[in-house]
């Protein structure tokens, strides 16, 4: 990986000094050992700060939304990031030609404290970027995983126990909205949560409101979720958010053959369309 890192630094410096891009979005070291933090490099000499290692936990796509006003951006993308970028292009959040995508094959990211592969990476089946302008290093082998493992375990539970488990999950939510803010799919200009006077979402933190927030969030992104798992990683309360997202993804795939989101930048999403031959269960 250190090989890729030096290539990345060199390319970032070239892109910046040639003026092709105004900024490179990647990662740099944080204060603690094995900690990284998002980096915004706008001077060629700062390209040395860029790092790429197995502790780059943050995803990059969401930042393009804020930084695109400055000009063309170079963005480091792994599999999950690239799917997020595709999804944002599809959602008309950003244009493909505003971006220069530096593809980085990834072999999974680790938790800096435990050294274990992050949960989001254990269930990953797209380690190589699906879209890029150039790929640094060689593509890695895509693992065969059962992404729906967690969902299936929950589905196999008795309803009472599952209800209790999720009730406790919602109870622990502090509604900091980190899951919303990191999500490349959560791009509404005015989120229902912020429409205070419309009154969708009450400000109180209780089971009913927390459930309302979480289920609305899941349902709103479920058909477009790129399964990057960043919401779950960002959650300061460590709630199993992907257990909800994946449930939506799984159901939509089972019912409408929705497939995986963000593999390309064309087409529509499964709840934004219909087919007269859809399964019928409400007769």
């Amino acid at each position: 990986m250190s090989d890729i890192q030096s290539q990345l630094r060199a390319r970032a410096a070239e892109l910046l000094s040639s003026g092709e891009v105004v900024q490179v979005i990647g990662w740099m070291d944080g204060r603690f050992e094995n900690q990284t933090t998002p980096a915004f490099i706008d001077r060629p000499e700062d390209a040395e700060l860029l790092v790429f290692n197995e502790y780059c936990v943050n995803t990059t796509p969401k930042y393009t939304l804020y930084e695109k006003e400055h000009g063309k951006l170079a963005v480091c993308v792994r599999g999950c990031d690239s799917r997020g970028i595709n999804r944002m292009i599809k959602d008309n959040q950003i244009l493909r030609d505003q971006l220069y995508l530096i593809g980085l094959p990834c072999s999974g990211v680790k938790d800096r404290k435990t050294g274990e592969l992050l949960i989001k990476c254990q269930n990953c089946n797209h380690r190589n970027p699906v879209v890029y302008d150039e790929l640094l290093g060689d593509a890695v082998e895509e693992p065969q995983v059962n992404r729906y493992d967690v969902v299936e375990r929950f589905e196999a539970m008795e309803r009472d126990k599952r209800a209790q488990y999720f009730e406790s999950t919602f109870n622990r939510c502090i509604r900091c909205y980190a899951c919303r803010e990191v999500c490349p799919v959560c791009t509404c200009r005015s989120c229902f949560v912020d429409q205070v006077n419309v009154g969708w979402q009450g400000k109180q933190n209780n089971l009913a409101e927390n459930k309302f927030y979480n289920l609305t969030r899941v349902f709103h992104i479920g058909d477009r979720c790129v399964e990057c798992g960043e919401c779950e990683r960002a959650c300061p309360m460590n709630l199993p958010l992907m257990a909800f997202n994946r449930k939506m993804v799984k159901d939509l795939d089972d019912l409408f053959a929705a497939g995986e989101a963000g593999l390309d930048a064309e087409g529509t999403h499964s709840l934004g369309t219909y087919d007269v031959n859809d399964v019928e269960e409400f007769m």
């Binding site: 209800a163 089971l207 459930k211 899941v218 909800f244 449930k247 159901d251 019912l255 409400f282 007769m283």
Partner: protein, 192 residues
């Protein structure tokens, strides 16, 4: 965070025989609402627990309506619209179908009992089906009992005890934006 950590299931209190559920029926204006009207004109009897909320189209039913109803005092929700192919707006109910199929699964996955959310296509001429559907969801929910009280906050409990259930029942249709509800009267089910 593992699945097995979830502790033992709750002891479900035995359902009170006098429990009267509150059901929100969201009905599409063009078919189901007309069907409900017809049921009224035909003097069909159906349980008075249901409050009808008229929407232009089942495609207009925001899943948040269902969540809000369940959060704020309803024990069950019925969503009805035109049969596929009959939508006044051509395709609204096709969208609704996809959406509600996924949403129902999500709700039940997170713990809602099967039967508390019912979705049916009922046309303007199917007065009998409307009556049967309303009766069905009322019976199911009555058997299930009140929606677990922990899911409703103290204010609902207070408002029920303070204002009295009868008062709430008499007013629920007119309040909280549930306007244009037909009188939940046993004798003539619906009427404008």
């Amino acid at each position: 965070m593992s699945v097995v950590e979830a502790s033992e299931g709750t002891q479900k209190a035995t359902v009170d025989a006098n429990f009267e559920p509150t059901i929100l029926a969201i009905a599409c204006h063009w078919c189901t609402y007309t069907g409900a009207d017809l049921a009224g004109m035909n003097r069909m009897n159906y349980p008075p627990n249901v409050r009808v909320l008229r929407v232009p189209c089942s495609g207009r039913v925001n899943p948040q309506y269902i969540l809000t109803a369940l959060n704020k005092g309803c024990d069950g929700v019925l969503v009805c619209g035109c049969h596929p192919g009959d939508c006044h707006y051509v395709s609204g109910n096709y969208y609704a179908k996809r959406r509600l199929m996924a949403f129902k699964r999500l709700l039940e996955y997170t713990g809602l009992e099967e039967g508390r959310l019912l979705i049916r296509w009922i046309s303007g001429s199917e007065a009998g089906k409307f009556r049967d559907t309303v009766t069905e969801i009322c019976q199911t929910v009555k058997a299930l009992g009140p929606l677990s009280t922990s899911e409703q906050d103290a204010l609902t409990a207070f408002s029920r005890s303070a204002a009295g259930l009868a008062d709430i029942n008499a007013n629920v249709g007119a309040a909280a934006g549930f306007a244009s509800a037909p009188e939940p009267n046993q004798a003539d089910g619906a009427g404008e």
